[in-house]
Amino acid sequence: MKLEYIGLKEISGPLIVVEGIQGASYEEMVEITVGPSEKRLGRIVEIHGDIAVVQVFEGTSNISLTNTKIQLMGHPLEIPLSYEILGRVFDGVGRPIDGLGEIYPEVRRDVNGKPINPVSREYPRNYIQTGISSIDGLTTLIRGQKLPIFSANGLPHDTLAVQIVRQAKLAGEEDAEFAVVFVAMGVKHDVADYFKKSFEDSGVMQKVVMFLNLANDPVVERIIAPRCALTVAEYLAFEHNMHVLVILTDITSYCEALREISSSKGEIPSRKGFPGYLYSDLASLYERAGMIKGKKGSITQIPILTMPNDDITHPIPDLTGYITEGQIVLDRSLHQKGIYPPVNVLPSLSRLMKDGIGEGFTREDHPAVANQLFASYAHVQEVRALASVIGEDELSELDKKYIEFGKAFEEEFVSQSREEERSMENTLDLGWRLLGILPKEELDRVDVKILDKYYRPYSNKVRGEF
């Protein structure tokens, strides 16, 4: 027989406190009946003796201390799963909102998942070709990687994410099944619509599962949404052998939701008011990317976060960067120059690319050309700083070459149109062609053999080819 508890002790923000509860367990779900018939869901987040603190998903408005009844459901939050979940749209806690009815589950899974033992992980090695030079050439995306886009308000991160989804190809395995799991956390309605429309236009909607928690939806659900989504991704990847690309946007809203709930729980804040466990909490999301030995599927994550005030040292990008395997950083000044995608390659990085490129994967010269482009472009920044003091005319001949290289690099290599898809070959050849602007002895990151094979002095004639 299920016990029903009547009345509350306290309400504080999204939390309610229930007294005299028996046999409650941590993270257990509760059903809350408000007034005569309205049902809401909640989750136990704290227990002291017989007092339990419950987070209410739909918010606590209209709840009073006396009109409420509570029932323990005896299990943590679970989500129903089946293959038919593809193409559906859900709210933050996994209830369908597309009017197509309930899911008939094959299994139900706890949304919190379980950490993967490093021994049973498979080290990701196969790259995903995105057709975007700055990513393929310099921050190669690897299947099973978590590679966030560090962006800021007003930058085209959504367009970039859509382009990645549309153009993503697995090298050598064109027939493998893929799926996209899309989570919107606290983003505006139009942003979610934009993604939906883009998926429909490119004909992938039947392979997309969407979880929408928009900016005006309850904050508590925002904490659950990515967990539901990753549970779906794990199910598709490891039981149906699909290659799943998970897009999480916007992590900044997620962290702010976490802060809001933490402060209403009365926890001690650490930097900028965020809870001390922000790192562990983010890790519990990001670490769910990867591959498992003996399973064919994979989970690749592309979280998008907007850096508050364009500040990369803000706790959210900072902690994210410590967990994820690299980052793609978008830059406002490049965007203002009209360069799309405005990827600032210097702080961008893909930690897994070293094992997924080069001979046997892309092309033997890939590591060398990537390294050299980074180094030369870094030097361009120094020369530009100098030029801003003494003027471009006063620069030495060599430094002028660098200025020319920097301009060409931004306008030809980084910049491409929203529909343009470049093959890996093209990207690498383009890299070499631009390096040709610099004298050969300046290319000190490249092994002599590779340099002799690929280096050609720059000429304008071949320009038309790309």
């Binding site: 490093p118 992980r121 080290y123 809870p275 466990y277 670490e287 100098l386 003091v389 000190d444 002599v448």
Partner: protein
């Protein structure tokens, strides 16, 4: 090995043969008359340091094959070092390089709150790599402790102690153990999280007030000791620190600095220009250099320290000159100073930068490190003579000798020391050629 808590007279020993680890092997009668059975397993509380006879002086370096570490900022066997750096600066990469190539007998690698895929990488790579000392797979000398970032926080707090206790166990057997903790900041954050949940009064940035004492307890377990059995063994601790926002003034970096003597500061700007290892030569330091001076003199070369000092001086000079260059450009500098900039470039690209993916550059023996320094300084002295003759730097720069010296890390194999003579010869002919031209 007999556990430190047991002493007495052996009364019975099992015959040679195979036994399970729980099978009693030896019986010992203690002073009190109790007979104790010993198995092949020892248990030890991880938070308590294992006892030893006495600490010995620090005299030997831990050779890592990484030029910027061995030559500029060496670490001693029994010492403690910290590698702080923001994300993407190469902490884990440096730790992996040290785990692969340092000349310790045993490596304990603690993955404390870091990425799962990094642990998997070690698990896949190490069995394939061959330890140059023993000729066996590297995995056989390595213990991994994996607590990835999504595993429980309480276990993260304990993982550091588990690692150091394992290290002490091998030290007591007379091995030289190097322990890599990646990253101690995650461990400190675990402390903070637990402390926050216990509702303890927070000190700086929410960290508990006992953070410094916990850090010191950990780092003080490093040392070069004589164990209870009279053997010499050592524990070297290399802790990675992940300061928030790459800002070294935060509490974990600052408190760690008090308990280590070797500081390899990773620099974001260097990492952005893909200068790896991104250990910055101006902000890093090693207090072990003086203690190790005699060892280097005896085992490498009399002039090792002299050349090292010269290299450091040139780099420092360069940073001063760069301030001027930033203001007015490089062309107005006198030729002697232009030469310093050029040589510093050779040092940075040809010596400090090291390619972990290059077959021979990933590990460089001390002899070669010394020869490389010698060649660079020889080039400097020769060029200076030419400058003094009034030959302009622009003419010197046209010769390919500078690029050739930069590339010697690739062109000269680790066992081809005689080739340095050839480069020296080419420096001489470069000198003669220009000297004759401008006579």
């Amino acid at each position: 090995m007999v556990p430190p808590t047991v002493a007495g007279e052996v009364v019975e020993v099992s015959k040679d043969g195979s036994y399970t680890i729980y099978h009693p092997i030896v019986k010992i009668r203690e002073k009190s008359g109790n007979v104790k059975e010993l198995t092949l397993v020892q248990e030890w509380p991880i938070r308590k340091p294992r006892p030893f006879n006495k600490r010995l002086g620090i005299e030997k370096p831990l050779i890592t094959g990484q030029r910027v570490i061995d030559t500029l900022f060496p670490i001693a066997k029994g010492g403690a070092a910290a590698i702080p750096g923001g994300f993407g600066t190469g902490k884990t990469m440096t730790q992996h390089q040290l785990a692969k190539w340092s000349d310790a007998d045993i490596i304990v690698y603690i993955g404390c709150g870091e990425r799962g895929n990094e642990m998997t990488e070690v698990l896949e790579d190490f069995p394939k790599l061959i330890d140059p000392k023993s000729g066996r797979p590297l995995m056989e000398r390595t213990v991994l402790i994996a607590n990835t970032s999504n595993m429980p926080v309480a276990a993260r707090e304990a993982s550091i102690y588990t690692g150091i206790t394992l290290a002490e166990y091998y030290r007591d057997m007379g091995y030289h153990v190097a322990i890599m903790a990646d990253s101690t900041s995650r461990w400190a954050e675990a402390l903070r999280e637990i402390s926050g949940r216990l509702e303890e009064m927070p000190a700086e940035e929410g960290f508990p007030a006992y953070l410094p004492s916990r850090l010191s307890e950990f780092y003080e377990r490093a040392g070069y000791v004589e164990s209870l059995s009279g053997r010499e063994g050592s524990i070297t601790i290399i802790g990675a620190v992940s300061p928030q926002g790459g800002d070294f003034s935060e509490p974990v970096t600052q408190n760690t600095k008090r308990f280590i003597r070797c500081f390899w500061a990773l620099d974001r700007q260097l990492a952005y220009s893909r200068h790896y290892p991104a250990i910055h030569w101006l902000t890093s330091y090693s207090e072990y250099m003086d203690l190790l001076a005699d060892w280097f003199k005896e085992n490498v070369d009399e002039r090792f320290l002299l050349l090292r000092t010269e290299i450091v001086r040139l780099l420092q000079e360069e940073s001063k000159l760069m301030e001027i260059v930033k203001l007015i450009g490089g062309d107005v500098l006198p030729d002697e100073q232009k030469l310093i900039l050029e040589i510093a470039r050779v040092i940075r690209l040809g010596f400090l930068q090291q390619n972990a993916y290059h077959e021979s550059d990933t590990y460089v023996p001390l002899v070669k490190q010394f020869k490389m320094m010698e060649t660079i300084i020889y080039l400097y002295n020769t060029s200076r003579k030419l400058i003094e003759k009034g030959i302009p730097m622009s003419v010197l720069r046209e010769k390919e000798i500078f690029e050739e010296v930069i590339k010697m890390k690739y062109t000269i194999g680790n066992d081809e020391m005689e080739k340095f003579e050839e480069i020296r010869g080419r420096i001489d002919s470069f000198y003669k050629e220009l000297y004759n031209e401008y006579k």
